[in-house]
C-alpha cells in the first residue's frame, strides 16, 4: 500500500465514521462537531485528488463560516432531546418506507453500471489548479457565474426584508449625530451669585 492510498483510506474512514456519528450521537452539539470533522476530512480527500482549491474553499466556507453559525444557533437553542425523540414508533413505518425506497434506488443506480467506467486521466495542467479554475470561471462560464451572484444577492435582500422590521418607539443611537454633538447643545452654564454666608 502506498502512502497515498493509506492517506486516502484514512480520511475516507474518518469521513464515513463521522458522517454516521452525525446522525447517531445524542447531543446536537456533538452532531455539529462530527459534521465539521466530516467536512474537514472530505476536504483532505479533495486535496488528495489535486483539487486543492476546492478543498481549501470547503474548509473556508463550510467549516469556517457556515458551521460557526450552525453551532451558534444550536448552542443558543435549548434543544430537548426527549421531545425530539417523541413518536419514534408512530413515525417508524413511514420512515422505514422512505429508507427502503432510497436504499433500493441507490442499489439500482450502483448496479446499472453508470459507475463502472475507467478512471479518467487527470488533464495535465500547465498552471496551478486555482489559476486554471479562475481562468475557466471568468471566461467560459462568466454568465452562469454572474447569474449565481445575482441570485445570491436577491436571496440576501429577501432575507433582510423578511426579517427586518421597523419598530416604533425604539430608542436608537445615530453615531454620526453622537459625534457631531457640541458641548453648547447639551450644557447650559448658569451664572449664579454665591449665597450669603449665614
Amino acid at each position: 500500500m502506498t502512502f497515498q492510498l493509506f492517506v486516502f483510506y484514512f480520511f475516507s474512514a474518518v469521513t464515513l465514521l463521522s458522517a454516521v456519528a452525525v446522525v447517531t450521537v445524542r447531543n446536537p452539539v456533538f452532531s455539529a462537531l462530527f459534521l465539521i470533522l466530516a467536512f474537514f476530512s472530505s476536504a483532505a480527500t479533495w486535496v488528495l485528488l489535486e483539487a486543492e482549491f476546492l478543498g481549501v474553499v470547503l474548509v473556508l466556507v463550510y467549516v469556517g463560516a457556515v458551521m460557526v453559525l450552525f453551532l451558534f444557533v444550536i448552542m443558543m437553542l435549548d434543544i430537548q432531546i426527549d421531545t425530539l425523540r417523541e413518536g419514534f414508533i408512530r413515525y417508524l413505518p413511514v420512515g422505514l418506507i422512505v429508507a427502503i425506497a432510497m436504499a433500493v434506488e441507490l442499489i439500482l443506480v450502483m448496479k446499472s453500471g453508470v459507475f463502472n467506467r475507467d478512471i479518467p486521466e487527470p488533464a495535465p495542467l500547465s498552471v496551478s489548479n486555482t489559476e486554471a479554475l479562475g481562468e475557466i470561471l471568468y471566461t467560459e462560464y462568466v454568465f452562469p457565474f454572474e447569474i449565481a451572484a445575482v441570485i445570491l444577492v436577491v436571496a440576501i435582500i429577501a432575507a433582510i426584508v423578511l426579517t427586518h422590521r421597523r419598530r416604533t418607539g425604539v430608542k436608537k443611537q445615530d453615531p454620526s449625530k453622537q459625534v457631531r454633538v457640541r458641548s453648547e447643545d447639551r450644557v447650559r452654564l448658569v451664572k449664579m451669585k454665591s449665597e450669603e454666608r449665614q
Partner: protein, 353 residues
Amino acid sequence: MDSVATFLNGFLPEGLTTLIVIMIKIVAILLPLILAVAYTTFAERKIIGYMQVRMGPNRVGPKGWLQPIADVVKLMFKEIISPTKASTVVFFIAPMLALAPALAVWSVIPFWDGGVLADVDAGLLLILAVTSLDVFGIILAGWASNSKYAILSSLRVGAQVVSYEIAMGFALVGVLMAAGSMNLSEIVRAQEGGIFSWFAWPLFGLLVVFFIAGVAETNRAPFDVAEGESEIVAGFHVEYSGMAFALFFLAEYASMILVSVLTALLFLGGWLSPFGHALDDVPVLGSVLGDGFHWLFIKSFFFLFCYLWFRATFPRYRYDQIMRLGWKILIPVTLVWIFAEGVAIAFGWKPWL
C-alpha cells in the same frame, strides 16, 4: 537542510528522511515562535507599563527578563480544574482546537526568499481557511464550560469573527489582484524595487482595513468584548486554569504575531529592503541594507507594537459599534477600493497598478 538530507539518506529510507527533514523544519519554525510569544507577553507588560508611567515587571532575573519563564513555570504547576457538569471531552479539546490552527498557518509563511516550509500556490486562501478555524476553540470553550459568562463571550466572539472575516477577505482580494498570485512568496516578489513599490501605497485603505480586521479577529483591545472583564469576568476562559488556559493565551499571541507578519508580507514587502537593490554594493553594510529576514522582523515588530499601543490607548468598543464598524464602514471601504483597483488594472495605470 540539503546536506542533512543527504547525510540521513545514507542509512535511512527516503520517505523517512523527508519526514525527519520536515519535522526539523517544523521545530525550527515553532520553537522561535513560542519564544517570541513568551517575550511578546513580556514586551506587552513593559511597553504598556512605560506608557502608563510605571515600571512593568522588573523583579525576576536581570531587568525582569526571566518573567515569561517564571509565568510558564507557574502555569505548569497550577491545577487544571474542570467545572462540574461540564462536557469534559470538549472542555479539554477546545484549547487544542484554538492552538492548532494558530500554529498550522505558519507552514505557508515565507521568512526570506525561499525560506518557507510549504510553498503552496493557494497560500493566501489556505491562511484564510485555517485562521477561520481558530474560532471553534473559543466557541466550544464557552459552550463546554457550562457557565453563563463563558457562553455569552463565545456568542460575541462567533458573531464578531464571522463579520470581520469578510472585511479581511476583501482586503486580501485587493492584494491578490495587485500581485496576480495567491502564493505568498510571489506576492512579496511582486513588491520588489524599494519602498515605493510596496503595496502599502496603492492599497493603503486595504492595509488599514486588514490590520483593523486583524485586531478584531484576534479579539484584542479595543475589540476585546470577548474578554470584557467589567461585564463578563474573563469571557470564554473563566473556567480554565493552568496549562489549559495557557494554550488559549499561546494561541492568542501566536495569532497576533501572525497578523503582524502577514501585514508586513502583504503590504510592506516582507523580507525586501526599503532601499531595493541600490545599496547592495555598499562595502560592509551591504548585507544588512539588502533583503533579508531582519527587514521582515522590523516590519512585523512595528505592527506588533501597534497592537500593544492600541491596547494602552483606546477604550473598548461597545458591541453594536463593533458590528457597525465591521459591516457599515470596513466592508464598503474595501468594496470601493477593489472596484477602483480593478479600473486601474484594466487601464494599466502604472505605477499605481
